[in-house]
């Protein structure tokens, strides 16, 4: 019984490997095997490889200083963090918010079997995530440090202890996430902010990892002494990996007891937790007289409403909105230095061109117009059955991308104009080139979205992340930027900044005009005929 339930749980977690959401059908056996092999490769060789590299960076030094326990403590903490963060959202979804709780509870399945299967699923995922850190760390230790029966037993013990702690922490954090989620008013914005903060932290950690490891190794003896002296229990966790069986038993008892306690607490309230309906904050309706809006304003508000209601849409198609203001500040602080550096390598004109090109690349990070037609999906009948000129619908979709790209772009341009020393003609081009690039990309995105719509999706992810139009919108922009850069190296440098960027700007204006005329003359009719 529990085996069947765990299998179902894992199939749900990895459903993307068995089911093609885009085509809404099951994958072929070969497709599933291929996907699973790819996943295994990613986890074992790529992710495992990264942590093997980290182990190699710190291991030999610590082994030489006879601080093997500190090595295990460090790698254990990384494994714990990855395990908890990797499985906390799965815990939230599978333990506290599972969609099939009602269905399973209505079947002749003992409640404890459902609970154990849910916890086993959380445990196995935590084990997998922590395993990609701790297994390479152990292997490196066994090869470069000490290998014996006790270190082997200690290694297995360490894996178990970490996985037990991950299970406990995932359950606690999953509960916290469930509680916060049910009380949030603006879930979409909160999700976007949290995602961006995590992304930012990830990049900071990646950039600073080398410095952190160097600093840690330089002070390893001091760090080791402090932990040894002031936190003996923590020190004893490190000893587990190097084969101290007494420490292993103590930690196994502590972590095991915590697992039992967590299981007991959850089992007491599981039925209540599993069957509680979403305690969303109910908004009170207050009757007001609405302000009358024009048709275009109404459509624009509707498009903004759709964009801001979906974290997936905002994160995948509107990251440029957040990046541009940050870039403007960065240019004000470091722009002069970067321009001078680029100027010393490529020449002053080329430096200005590269900055222009960079602004174009940032503008192409916004592509909310590309999936906007597909996102109408089952709601298409609303706009088509209303007395609205379809061109207005398209212009509203276009305007969202233009407003969200060009306004922050003006900030970046202003920052560039303040920092860079430019001639009046260069200044005009510095304003026109990125703004027209933004306009051209918005028009390309909308045109592609209209020509290749997918109106039969069942999951918003499909038009926003996996559609042909989004692929063209994202990579098309980068290809255009690369092409303009390549042409500059080939011919543009000889022409000079003003001539070359002037030609590029005229090209952007012409292409924009052609696409705009097409959307007005033909695009509206195509939208009206979408079925």
């Amino acid at each position: 019984m529990i085996g069947v339930l765990v299998k179902k749980q894992l199939m749900e977690v990895f459903k993307g490997y068995f089911y093609n959401q885009k085509k809404n059908k099951a994958r072929s056996k070969a497709g599933t095997i291929g996907m699973l092999i790819g996943y295994a490769f990613l986890m074992i060789f790529v992710m495992g490889g990264i942590f093997a590299f980290v182990s190699l960076m710190i291991g030999p030094t610590l082994f030489g200083l006879e601080l093997d326990w500190l090595y295990f403590l460090m790698m254990g903490m990384i494994a714990l963090m990855l395990g908890v963060f990797g499985s906390v959202f799965n815990t939230y979804a599978s333990l506290y918010k599972a969609k099939d709780n009602d269905m399973l509870l209505a079947m002749p399945i003992p409640v404890h079997a459902i609970l154990i299967s849910r916890l086993l699923n959380v445990y196995l995922l935590g084990l997998m995530y922590s395993g990609i850190v701790i297994l390479p760390a152990l292997i490196i230790y066994w090869i470069m440090g000490t290998f014996s029966v006790t270190t082997l037993i200690g290694g297995i013990g360490l894996i178990l202890i970490l996985s037990f702690f991950i299970l406990v922490l995932s359950c606690v954090l999953g509960y916290v996430v469930a509680q916060i989620s049910s009380r949030l008013k603006n879930k979409s914005f909160t999700t976007v902010i949290i995602s961006v903060v995590f992304l930012g932290l990830y990049y900071i950690v990646c950039f600073r990892m080398q410095n952190f490891i160097s600093s840690f190794l330089a002070n390893a003896v001091l760090v080791g002494d402090t932990i040894h002296g002031k936190a003996f229990i923590v020190y004893s966790l490190g000893l587990v990996g190097q084969g101290n069986l007494i420490s292993m038993l103590i930690w196994l008892l502590i972590s095991g007891a915590l697992v039992l306690l967590t299981g007991r607490i959850i089992s007491r309230s599981f039925v209540k937790l599993a069957t509680v309906s979403d305690v969303a904050v109910k908004r009170e309706y207050k009757e007001t007289t609405a302000k009358k809006r024009g048709v275009f304003g109404t459509l624009l508000a509707k498009e903004f409403g759709r964009f801001t209601a979906s974290p997936t849409y905002m994160l995948n198609c509107g990251l440029g909105v957040l990046i541009m203001p940050v870039l403007a500040v960065a240019i004000l602080i470091k722009g002069k230095m970067v321009a001078d550096l680029l100027g010393s390598v490529f020449g002053p004109e080329a430096a200005v061109f590269l900055i222009c090109l960079g602004l174009g690349a940032v503008a192409s990070m916004n592509d909310m117009a590309a999936p906007s037609v597909s996102l109408e999906g089952k709601n298409l009948w609303i706009l088509q059955s209303m007395p609205i000129d379809p061109v207005k619908v398209l212009m509203a979709k276009l305007s969202v991308q233009l407003l969200l790209t060009e306004i922050p772009m003006i900030l970046v341009i202003l920052a560039s104009l303040i920092v860079l020393e430019l001639t009046p003609v260069q200044m005009i081009l510095m304003v026109l080139y990125p703004l027209l690039f933004g306009l051209m990309m918005a028009l390309i995105d909308l045109t592609i979205g209209l020509k290749f719509p997918n109106l039969t999706w069942t999951n918003e992810m499909v038009p926003v992340k996996q559609s042909f139009s989004i692929f063209v919108a994202l990579f098309g922009g980068w290809i255009l930027v690369a092409a303009m850069g390549g042409l500059y190296l080939w011919k543009g440098m000889d022409m000079g900044f003003v001539t070359y960027v002037g030609i590029c700007t005229v090209f952007e204006a012409l292409l924009s005009a052609v696409l705009l005329v097409w959307l007005v003359k033909r695009g509206g009719k195509e939208f009206a005929e979408l079925r």
Partner: protein, 245 residues
């Protein structure tokens, strides 16, 4: 109010609607009955302009759907068989969206929202996102949005599906009130008892062909609408098999 002349629509080899002609006068509640796949939804979608057609003409209050689709849509409200509304909006935002598109004055809009939302008991849920609505609540919201701009013609595809008995009763009252004021309603239904009691006229469609239409008395005589519908459907089937043989 609505004139359909020789409407024909094919999907590949299949003729969904074949040479259908119908006239609906102001003040009439016109029921449209037929099996699944008979051509009801195709006809309704053609009238509202979200389904192109191969042949024929549709006039709404004298305006051609093909020549002036926007002009026609200003006079029509449409409720599809499945109320897929904007789930990212709240109920009140959706009603204001419809009100803005149809240029309903804010004061009148407020009054109508209050009237119909109170009738359906939806007022307290208007601030909630549509995503949290049940099927019945979405259907009620779609009905309010159709009535909010006081259209001349209301087209409804299976409007009673998902409604509780009280809401269905309220809708019937609203339909009668609308037609008494000079509006017209054309709706499809499988609930023959409702059609029999509510409709002034009825049209029965099978395999894209209009097999009988007229006033309720003309169509059913002394029999029940259910008996007539089943009998006609069987006759049509037998006739078709005979001609094929």
């Amino acid at each position: 109010m609505l004139q359909i002349k020789e409407l024909t629509k094919t999907f590949g080899e299949k003729t969904a609607v074949d040479n259908l002609s119908l006239h609906i006068a102001p003040g009439e509640i016109y029921g449209f009955i037929g099996h699944n796949g008979a051509g009801k939804t195709t006809t309704l979608r053609s009238i509202i302009g979200i389904q192109d057609f191969d042949k024929g003409e549709i006039l709404v209050d004298g305006t051609s759907v093909a020549a002036d689709p926007i002009g026609c849509k200003k006079k029509i409200a449409y409720i599809p068989d499945n109320p897929d509304l904007y789930e990212f909006m709240s109920g009140i935002k959706y009603l204001n969206f419809v009100g803005d598109i149809f240029k309903v004055e804010p004061g009148i809009r407020k009054e109508r929202i209050r009237k119909y939302a109170d009738l359906f008991g939806l007022t307290q849920d208007l601030a909630q996102p549509i995503a949290s609505y049940s099927h019945g609540m979405k259907q009620k919201l779609a009905i309010i949005s159709a009535w909010i701009h006081d259209p001349k013609l209301i087209l409804m595809d299976e409007p009673f599906v998902g409604l509780d008995p009280k809401a269905a009763h309220i809708l019937k009252g609203m339909m009668r009130e609308h037609c008494d004021k000079g509006g017209a309603i054309f709706f499809s239904t499988h609930v023959l008892e409702v059609a029999e009691k509510l409709c002034d006229k009825v049209a029965i469609i099978k395999g894209g062909h209009l097999i009988r239409f007229g006033t309720m008395e003309e169509v059913k005589g002394d029999d029940s609408l259910e008996d007539v519908f089943l009998e006609l459907a069987e006759d049509q089937e037998a006739e078709k098999q005979g001609s094929e043989a």
